[in-house]
Every structure is written in C-alpha cells, then in structure tokens.
Amino acid sequence: MQLGPFDYALWFVGFLVEIGVVVCILYKRDVLRYLSLTIYMLCAAFVTCGQYFYVSRFGFNSSQYFYYYYYTESLLTILLFWTVIQFYQQTFREMKVSGYIRGAAVLLLLATALFSYAVVHENRSHLTTKFVVELGQNLYFVGVVLTYLLWGAILKLRETRTRLIQLVLALGVYFSATACTYALRNLFPSLQPYVLRWVPPLVGLWLPVAWAYTFAEVSEDARLATARLVARAR
C-alpha cells in the first residue's frame, strides 16, 4: 500500500492546523490557561513531522513506521488526558477541589500505566498488530469515559463558558470516533485497507480544526446555557 496525494494533503493540512491552534492560543495570550492543550498540539505537530520522516526513510509499510505511529499515538493520548484533567480543573474551579482532581489524575495515570503494563506483560511473546490496536482502543475508550463524565459535570453544574463547552464537546467527538474506529478494526481487520484507513487521519484533523475554530471565533467571555444543548423535543 502506497500513500497518494490525498494522504499527503491530509498530513500537511493536519500539521498546519495543529500549528495554527498554537498560534491562535499565543495570539490570544491564553497559554497559561490552556497550557496542556498548547503542549499537546505542539507535540502532535512534532509527531506529524516524525511520521513524515519515518515514511520517507523507512516506507509506509515498514515496521519502524508502524510501531512509531501506534506508540506515539498512545503517548499523545496520555498527554491528551492531561488536557482533560485541566478541563476538569476549570469546570470545578469554584469548588476548590483542585487537590482532589490532581490526586484522581495521578491515580488514573497509574491505573492506565498498570493496565498497559499488564497487557504488555500478557502479550510480551507476541507484540503484534493486534496488541497495539487493542492498547489504542483501550486508551481512547478511557478518554471517552473521562470526557463523558466531564460533560455530565458541565451539565450538572450548569457551566456557561461557551469556549470550554465547545472544546470539551469537540474532544468528546474525537475520542468516541477514534475509539469506535479502533474497535471496528479489532472486530473487522479486513476493513482496514479499504474503509478504516481513511478514518483516523480525518478524525485526527477534526480535533485541531474544531479547536482552532473555537479559539478563533469564540471569545473567553462568551456564555451560553447548557440546557439548550441537550437535544430534547419541547
């Protein structure tokens, strides 16, 4: 399987938008407020450069690129958890529970590391495609659960900051779509070369584009009532 112009275009646009989000945050002087998000986007841009390097040096079908892709993906997901934790801190800011959130975050990271170690230990004799796909699927699913709980807290606390709401919702779309893609890959590996191959790059593009839109179009002071967002026929 070789990469076509569309793959390279997606790659390039993805890199540009990731850098665009960082520039947007710097321009709005929101680095400290969204520190983890900025670091995540910078790392994602570096990883994209690394992917290009691996493809040009070893080829798209090489095992070097394969393991680089999946393991950096897992590391980026863990980095994204940090962003989720920062969103939790912003949501619960007035309740002064930062200490508890940090404690829970450390526990969660330890639990994820332990779980991943257990999976690695179990599969140490055959660290194959199935293992990396399964690890990715589990990590993204933890992300889905974390974001869903955060969304529940936002609704319960009647959070009104539009920017925070849109950032969290975009993250939820990203995590759930990616977890679903990984699960489908696990269930139907034969779909990978035809259909599922296109989904991760497109979903990967969604997150920086949606975040760039939010930072560019929604000011920090914008407010909206979360009750309006829950789809319900009145």
């Binding site: 699913f141 939820g172 990984y182 593009l205 949606a210 839109y213 909206l224 967002l229 829950v230």
Partner: protein, 136 residues
C-alpha cells in the same frame, strides 16, 4: 466481546457529543444578527429564514472565497441538518410531536449558513477593497 461493547458505546456517545457540539455552534450563531446585505443576496429580505433555505444558502457560501476556519463547521452542521431531515421524515410516521422541534433546529442550521455567508461576503469585500487599494 469487549471490542463490540466499546464500539456500541462509542457510537452512542459520539452521536450525543456530535449533536451537542452542533447545537453549541448553532446557539452561538443564533445570537448573530444578519445584515441587510446578506438578506438581500439570499432573497430573504422580507421574511424569516426557513428550514428549507439551508441548501441554497450553503451553495451561496461555496461561491464565496473561503476564509479558512469555518469549512469543517459548515460540513458538521450540514451533516447535522441531514440527520434532522431524516429524523423529520421518520418522525412524521412514528412520533409526529418531534416535527416542530426538527423544524426549529433546521431553521437554526439555515441561520448558521446565513451567518457564514455574511462573514464570507464581508471577507470578499475586504479582499476586493485591498486589491483596489493595492492597484491605486
């Protein structure tokens, strides 16, 4: 078994997040007042925006030069609009009470497209003014 469960849960959660995201984008755009210019261009000068205006407005949006940061949102809202039309069609037979709600949501989608059009027209005008200024 675990993969199937994760797949089902993810699809359900994805739909929830996607719908809420689109509604948040629509709520933000709902607060924006449309200019007379865009009302005139899109032929809605003397009436309110209707649910069926969406496709026409999006076509007009596509005719304008892209500003760069709203294409994904237009596509996302377009998908949401498609979902709403499907729900409207199905609810006509199954749950007629959903009809007015889907109609309101579709109107919000049309309003969003009109706001995007307004923004792009302003952008085009700025570009044109800049070009004229550069020439003189």
């Amino acid at each position: 078994m675990a993969a199937a469960l994760i797949c089902v849960i993810s699809v359900v959660v994805f739909l929830q997040f996607f719908v809420s995201y689109c509604r948040s984008v629509l709520t933000v755009s709902r607060k924006v007042e449309l200019s007379d210019r865009v009302r005139e261009v899109s032929g809605i000068a003397n009436r309110n925006i209707g649910a069926d205006d969406f496709a026409r407005l999006v076509q007009l949006v596509r005719l304008c030069p892209q500003q760069g940061d709203d294409a994904t949102e237009i596509r996302a809202v377009g998908t949401y609009y498609g979902l709403l039309r499907m729900v409207k069609y199905l609810s006509a037979f199954l749950i007629p009470a959903l009809g007015p709600w889907t109609e309101r949501e579709c109107e919000s989608c049309s309003h969003f497209a009109a706001v995007a059009l307004d923004r792009r027209i302003s952008y085009s005008r700025d570009l044109f003014t800049q070009q004229v200024a550069d020439r003189t």
